[in-house]
Amino acid sequence: MALSGMRGLSVFISDVRNCQNKELERARVDKELANIRTKFKNDKGLTPYEKKKYVWKMLYIFMLGYDVDFGHMEAVSLISAPKYAEKQVGYIVTSSLLNENHDFLRLVINTVRNDIIGRNETFQCLALTMVGNIGGKEFSESLAPDVQKLLISNSCRPLVRKKAALCLLRLYRKNPDVVSVDGWADRMSQLLDEREIGVLTAVMSLLVALVANNPDAYWNCVSKCVRVLERLTRSQDIPQEYTYYGIPSPWLQVKTMRVLQYFPAIDDPNIRRSLFEVLQRVLMGTDAVKNINKNNATHAVLFEALALVMHLDAEKDMMAQCVGLLGKFIAVREPNIRYLGLENMTRMLMVSDVQESIKRHQVQIITSLRDPDISIRRRSLDLLYGMCDVTNAKDIVEELLQYLTTADFAIREELALKAAILAEKFAPDLSWYVDVILQLIEKAGDFVSDDIWYRVVQFVTNNDDLQPYAAAKARDFLDKPAVHETMVKVAGYLLGEYSHLLSRRPGCSPKEVFSIIHDKFATVSTPTKAILLSAYIKILLHSQTVDPELQNHVLAVFRKNETYLDAEVQQRASEYYALSRKGPSMVDVMAEMPKFPERQSALLKKAEDTEVDVADTSATKLRLMQLTSTAVVVADQKPANGVHPALTRVPSGQRNIEAPTVPVANGGQSPAPVDFLAIEAAPTHSAPESSPLVGPGDSLALALMDNQASTVQIGLKAEWRGNQGRIVLFLGNKHTAPLLSVKAVILPPRHMQLLTSNVPDTIPPRAQVQCPVEVTNLSPSREIPVLDFCYNNSSAMVSFKLRLPVIMSKFLQGATLAPADYIARWKALMGPPNKLLQEVVRGVKPLPLQEMSDLLGSLHVAIAPGYDPNVNNIVGAATYFSENPTLCLVRIETDPADRTQIRLTVGTPDTSVALELKEYIKERLVDIPSGAAPTSLPGMPSPADDLVGPAASLAGLI
């Protein structure tokens, strides 16, 4: 191959190549730029050859990363040259250097048009290519009709027509009006009859864009596309030059299959049959071959076929075949195939109901998380994230945590974020959630954003049961060497608020807690120092007996920081100093933080936002949209008697339609149609002497996730007094459209009387309505009232059931008895008649004695430590309020040798109370929430049935 005609260009390229470093290169380039500038400026009589040479030099310099704006005009002016060689340079360099916003392009619009409508087909090609690459709106308006004419012309050669097709694609994207739907549907269909593969390839790209915007209009193209596929897969009439390693243009095959994925569904049985024949042939007939190029090409087609099969929602067999193939791919050695196997499995998760069969490959997918290739690790992470649900959340999140310690920097942030999101979304219980986040902070503190630890604080603050646990955990983490600052923040906050709950444990006295936190004080940043100061004063004022040594120490710290550099720290230190000197009268000022109002997780919101952030209308996204719109299974279907609208709209995926008239008593046995997350805050009156009968307002967050988008949020606030309660339901519409035909009906259990006020029929967009409910407890029962909520969100009826946290412990009030009194009552219950109910419970979650005692306390049973001479036993008392208050005595005898079994005794004058209370306590002690509890009463919500979705597992917390 001879050197190109331009010697000056070659010399310049050699010079640049010989430059030893970037400075020399820049010097040489600057010299050349100066040269080109003067040439362009001075010599009016540049020969076409010289002009060409300088323009190519500019392109070369531009490629090296230098600015050549001054020369744009010269490049553009070459377009108007009469000779092909100059025109070509003008067109090509212009489309490389300029973009559609450059004003210079306007100057040549007429020349370009003349080239397009002229007779010279080489000029036509050049002009069409340039417009196709950088044409803007103005080109679109003035050239579209001419370009269309070329595309459908019979006299034009394929050479021109394929470029016209892609040029039109550009013009259409700039201004969709240039292609009128009416006329073009038929034309596109005719164009698909084209035999020439090059034209067909270009037309197919145009068709993708047209169909993506308006699939209904191009319906007539479906059968043509299938015919093209048949032709290709059967190798009919394919010129040798269009086969690639024996495969008829794999690119056209892929493109054609892609077009078909933009049509919502293909219903015509004949077309469907032909298409499935083609796809079946691809699925079955693709074997691994030695030649790498051939192998890649066949697999390119195969992966596209898999995507199309998923899109078409094929029969079960074929779907199973696809999952099977992908399962095979993710285990092969060839890294490209493995990567694509993982990627396509992730896509499959989004569109089809194959979650279960994909779960079978979980082990293999986890292996890929340790692949040496980061691309593969990312795919595996995405897939694990996508396939995670309540059943495997623990496994997957723990796997992610483990991987976090060895993961490379590039992926850590994403990993930490995903682990945090999954932990929040699918936590089987909140203590696990706290564990996960604390570990996350320990292992990757730098990547744990404030949102994540704020969320932990919110959960812990709103869940009294969780507080001692979280505080104890935080305490443990502070003991470790090299504690991350985020850990110091969260631990400081939690211990400040709740360390007094731990004071009876070894190593957790206020003094000890203070000193372990204060160890970190010197090394942390200013905002953390401020948090710690607040923790100190809380520790000081929360401790029951003031320890003068601790007080002196804390005061000294405040004193010292009164002159700290930062104003915030300074202010806190001085104020806390003054406050703490006032002593116990300040306890109220430093009381525990009140419950947070329910709020959406900032983290989940962020995750949703980034998912929306993909700009292009992608096939996958379109498919997802189609999925939500076809998911409308039931329209308004009111039961005949109209009393309880137990109407269910089944979310996508599940196609079982609940019988519309479910008797109230069985309400709880119908599977909860929508997953929900209930986070409950138990009232804080665990110290009965000091607190009034009414607990502080229980605020509660029931964050409700409609499984497509969170449109509704239901919050709840409750107050309890004796056997009565007042609940306020907050029904919030988060949607931008009003919710219509809203109905909120509470199916009351038989033991309760519920007075519900009316709910308005419509909830306006982004508004909240309140619905007060009066509850009266009449007789003992563990049954829980169910809120049946339904609404019309403009496209469909949605309905779901929520269990309200009106549980037995709400009607319990801790009772403190003198030891003698306690023993006398116990003896009286022993009978005869024996009113003590006793049961040996096995399969209990092994808990330290203290935690078990805390657990009992959280059910509002006042623990009486030391009343039982055996240290392995816990005893307590509470008053149960139904129509008449009943005093209940509780004893748990633990076996130090076997922590999984206990003997539980409950005694009350009223055996029906004892029976229910015993079962209620038992359910909370057994490992899986309520799993082992017998369904003793007919009509009770059967725990086994409720064990679906995160709702069930979280319901165990209430």
């Binding site: 050197l3 290519t129 090059g198 493109k255 490209n336 992608s618």
Partner: protein, 143 residues
């Protein structure tokens, strides 16, 4: 489903050909090329041919000292692009006869002509080598 750039880089990381099908400023190009080249060049033979970078997916292939990189969106069929790279190389082979880095470097315009016949507006327009090379060979004869 579109090609967003085609990049040819040698193993020292020097750009030998760059064609973008979307609007980027020169600073953005420089930064993008730097980051992508660093990522791809660090990879071993046993790793897959796809690298995710920002919102691009880069499909790349190495031929002796030269790396061919094609940036695509997340919707593109990766293997089809991987083989398209090979198709480009085979076409250049046919024209230059066993193409090497210097051919592309010193015949930048020819490389551009070939690419222009094969990709337009981010779409594959032609894979038939005779069709691609026809106009270029015609022009060579006229010299």
């Amino acid at each position: 489903m579109a090609i967003r750039f085609v990049l040819l880089v040698n193993k020292q990381g020097q750009t030998r050909l760059a064609q973008y099908y979307e609007q980027l400023t020169i600073d953005e190009r420089r930064a993008l090329e730097g980051e992508i080249v660093r990522k791809c060049l660090a990879r071993t033979e046993n790793q897959c041919s796809f690298v995710e970078h920002r919102n691009y997916k880069v499909v790349y292939r190495r031929y002796a000292s030269l790396f061919f990189l094609i940036g695509v969106d997340s919707e593109e069929n990766e293997l089809a692009i991987l083989e398209f790279i090979h198709c480009v190389v085979e076409t250049m082979d046919r024209y230059f006869g066993n193409v090497c880095e210097l051919d592309i470097m010193y015949h930048l315009e020819k490389a551009h002509f070939i690419l222009e016949e094969m990709v337009m507006n981010g779409c594959i327009v032609e894979t038939n080598k005779s069709n691609i090379l026809g106009p270029i060979q015609l022009m060579d004869k006229s010299f």
